[in-house]
């Protein structure tokens, strides 16, 4: 203890020093620079190129690609996959989050689940596809006569749910934590049944957070590429897959302009979704401070 105390006192003068001089926004410069170089700049290039024709002139006609029925099919595929995997992931993840909160707040179970979720929410790509191939694929001996795991969107959704559930746990857990025990006790004292509690108190309180988290999962599934590219390699179902085909097709179908227009469509979808997410988060935050 003595050692710790010395260290703390020793460290204090440095920490207790005055705030460095300079305007407050200086500290955000590295972050904004990073976002600028790796997010805003590439997005700007995509927007710029989407309005250009292959000859280099500017015109809106390249956007007509978005009206093409085959191209609409890729957007429908992306939305189907994102919807199925985000709703399934959100429902299962919410149940898991509730179960974790119901347990001991300092217990091992909670810590293991949170640490596990933090890792698994980032587990995707070719490794995940291959892990599933080994687990449920034709040679696993499991589900051997079922071809549905190669069918779109249910097969690939099953795989996406693997990283959607942990992500849901991470983003939804604070909301469930915010439900005060006293509210439940109060409604029980007033004679409310469990159903009435959820219908009139818990449900409305969690609804904005739940919908917002579902939207986040939706955007997460929308942008995933490597997993589906390994799983459904021979057919393009989603927009990111078709962007890849438009960039590197070696059979004469490569069209950079189409790739930019498809990317523009993705940017628009993500902007809409994330705006909805931000609005819902703001509403959820009113109750869960």
């Amino acid at each position: 203890m003595a050692v710790t105390a010395t260290t703390e006192t020793g460290a204090r003068p440095a920490r207790a020093g005055r705030r460095p001089s300079g305007p407050a926004w200086v500290g955000t410069v590295p972050f904004l620079g990073y976002v600028g170089v790796f997010l805003l700049f590439p997005t700007g290039i995509v927007l710029f190129n989407a309005f250009r024709n292959p000859a280099g002139g500017f015109e809106l006609s390249s956007l007509s690609t978005l009206g093409n029925s085959a191209v609409r099919g890729f957007f429908v595929g992306s939305i189907e996959l994102a919807a199925v995997s985000s709703v399934a992931g959100a429902v299962l993840g919410a149940i898991l989050a509730y179960a974790i909160v119901a347990g001991n707040p300092d217990g091992v179970v909670r810590r293991v689940y949170l640490a596990g979720s933090g890792v698994l929410a980032q587990f995707g790509g070719v490794t995940l596809a291959f892990a599933f191939l080994a687990a449920v694929g034709p040679t696993s001996g499991f589900l051997i006569h079922a071809g549905w795991f190669y069918d779109f969107p249910q097969g690939i959704s099953l795989i996406y749910v693997y990283f959607q559930i942990p992500l849901m746990v991470l983003v939804f857990l604070p909301a469930v934590d915010g439900l005060k025990v006293q509210w439940r006790e109060a409604s029980e004292n007033l004679g409310a049944s469990a159903w009435q509690y959820w219908r009139h108190v818990g449900g409305p309180l969690l609804a904005p957070a739940f919908t917002g988290a579902t939207l986040l999962l939706f955007a997460n599934a929308l942008s995933a590429y490597a997993t589906i590219q390994a799983w459904e390699n021979q057919i393009a179902y989603t927009v990111p897959q078709q962007i890849s085909t438009a960039i590197n097709s070696e059979v004469g179908l490569s069209n950079i302009n189409e790739a930019d227009v498809l990317a523009l469509g993705m940017v628009i979808m993500v902007v809409i979704i994330m705006t909805g997410y931000a609005l819902l988060q703001r509403r959820a935050a009113q109750w869960l401070r």
């Binding site: 085959a70 099919g73 596809a129 291959f130 191939l133 080994a134 694929g137 034709p138 040679t139 051997i144 006569h145 071809g147 190669y150 779109f152 590219q229 390994a230 799983w231 459904e232 390699n233 021979q234 057919i235 393009a236 179902y237 897959q241 890849s244 085909t245 960039i247 590197n248 097709s249 070696e250 059979v251 004469g252 179908l253 490569s254």
Partner: protein, 326 residues
């Protein structure tokens, strides 16, 4: 030739791109080239596509990292001739006229026939229609998406020919894969050496030289070329007109087209690919007969897609492939 060797040695380096070491013996070819001339070979993005090669030429233009030489599919070669420098190797007259650009902008190098590689646990396959049977559940894969990968497009075209179609239309092949999907036998998973070893893609449509047991890395692997559907495909060489190492690039081409026992043509043959000068080499006796004897047997006249046939097939696939196999 000696002046070329001296100039290339002075440059000391050669940039190549999209040459997997296990593909058509490229690992040995690169090693032998370096051993013979003392020129260092930088191999970039070994698993890239032909289009990736052309994209690299454009994006890295003028830098010392730009690719010097390209090994690309026919469609990409024809669409990008403005990027190439003409060059005629000393064995130019041994390349069949139909397999080179008259001006020397590109020249086919090696190729093979579209084949069905399969695990020997299925017994012996003698006809493509067997693949519709129930023992091939979730088993049959192409090498990529046919709207993007040349090998996959040719896989579908081969199925088309086997159904009695002509090279002018790929529709019968798409219909075959539709039936395969309906039977539950089509596997959309990316077929790689790893999935073949794990047994998850036990039947793969691919070029015969990429379907050899030695290439896929499993011993119980057989290759079948349908007798009525011998579809050939060749890659082509081209030199970047702004190559950072122009002499080394030309020396590399001379090495690849050399008919010597240790030259590129026989090295490709030892990798299971059919070198473009093979007919001449068979008649002048310079061919490695042991390696030639190991090539999968084919019967029937090989068919080669013309540029317009390949373009028509790609257009049809762009509109119909995804719907047919969903």
């Amino acid at each position: 030739m000696s002046k070329l060797v001296a100039a290339a040695k002075k440059e000391g380096t050669l940039n190549v791109i999209a040459l997997p070491p296990t593909w058509a013996n490229y690992g040995t070819i690169i090693k032998d080239f370096t051993a013979k001339y003392g020129i260092k070979v930088n191999s970039a993005n070994p698993d890239g596509t032909s289009q990736d090669e052309v994209n690299a030429v454009k994006q890295e233009n003028g830098t010392s990292a730009a690719p010097d030489v390209l090994d690309i599919g026919q469609a990409v070669a024809l669409a990008n001739t403005s990027l190439f420098a003409p060059y005629k190797v000393s064995t130019w007259s041994n390349i069949p006229t139909a397999q080179k650009d008259a001006g020397g902008l590109w020249y086919e190098d090696y190729g093979g026939y579209m084949a069905v590689g399969y695990s020997s646990k299925f017994g012996t396959i003698t006809s493509l229609s067997q693949l519709l049977g129930s023992k091939f559940k979730n088993a049959v894969a192409l090498n990529g998406n046919p709207t993007a990968a040349n090998a996959a497009l040719n896989g579908v075209m081969m199925a088309s020919l086997a159904q009695g179609g002509s090279a002018s239309s790929i529709a019968d092949g798409v219909a075959f894969f539709h039936k395969l999907k309906a039977a539950g036998n089509f596997s959309p998973v990316s077929a790689t050496g790893a999935t073949i070893k794990a047994g998850t893609t036990p039947v793969v449509f691919n070029w015969d030289y990429l379907n050899l047991p030695s290439y896929v890395g499993v011993s119980n692997w057989k290759v079948f070329v349908p007798p009525n559907a011998v579809l050939g495909g060749y890659y082509a060489q081209a030199i970047n007109k702004n190559a950072p190492h122009p002499a080394a690039a030309r020396l590399w081409e001379e090495f690849l087209y050399s008919q010597a026992a240790t030259g590129g043509q026989n090295l490709w043959l030892q990798g299971g690919a059919r070198p473009v000068e093979q007919p001449t080499m068979a008649s002048n006796g310079s061919i490695d007969t042991a390696a030639a004897g190991k090539l999968p047997a084919v019967s029937g006249t090989p068919v080669f897609l013309s540029a317009s046939q390949a373009a028509a097939a790609a257009t049809y696939l762009a509109a119909n492939w995804a719907q047919a196999v969903r």
